[in-house]
Amino acid sequence: NAGVTQTPKFRVLKTGQSMTLLCAQDMNHEYMYWYRQDPGMGLRLIHYSVGEGTTAKGEVPDGYNVSRLKKQNFLLGLESAAPSQTSVYFCASSFRGLAATQYFGPGTRLTVL
């Protein structure tokens, strides 16, 4: 089992460029999440999905879009990157249910110039 994988690991964008981050999990989890991590801020939820074909907004959704066309994949898109989106992005997945463990990917470090 690979668990949760994220691609790419690193990316540098110029302001206004677009990109898609891919998250894949092989644990048959229903729930998937996208977070960003900034110094002193912990993890902040961007968007999440409670099942294939569903998405919902988290705490900081502006400037991002997501899609969950397949149960195992959760895509995070930046349509027009801004320097404020420079961050480390983590994907996570979990089984349905209260107090379920979230399993995290290794992260993607994104720099927007």
Binding site: Y35, G40, L43, V50, A56, G58, T101, Q102, F104
Partner: protein, 112 residues
Amino acid sequence: TQLLEQSPQFLSIQEGENLTVYCNSSSVFSSLQWYRQEPGEGPVLLVTVVTGGEVKKLKRLTFQFGDARKDSSLHITAAQPGDTGLYLCAGAEARDTDKLIFGTGTRLQVFP
């Protein structure tokens, strides 16, 4: 708005010392988790507590959930360099258990 505040934000100690990390909120949580994150990796779950007043021990780590389920603490006895990392608490609000609210994090450095 950050619902979970952790303190201290940074902690540097010598091997063998004891320490306590606090996680506080004004919200009630149906469950609370503690994660540890090492540089360049994603967080990994240490423990989940679900009952007010619950205490769980994991070797030298002791976790406590407050009676009112608004706060939690992590106590490490005889810290070791291998305990170095970022510790994050995360709570599932009673009104929305589909997602976790993460704390601000405590960065711990244990020197040999």
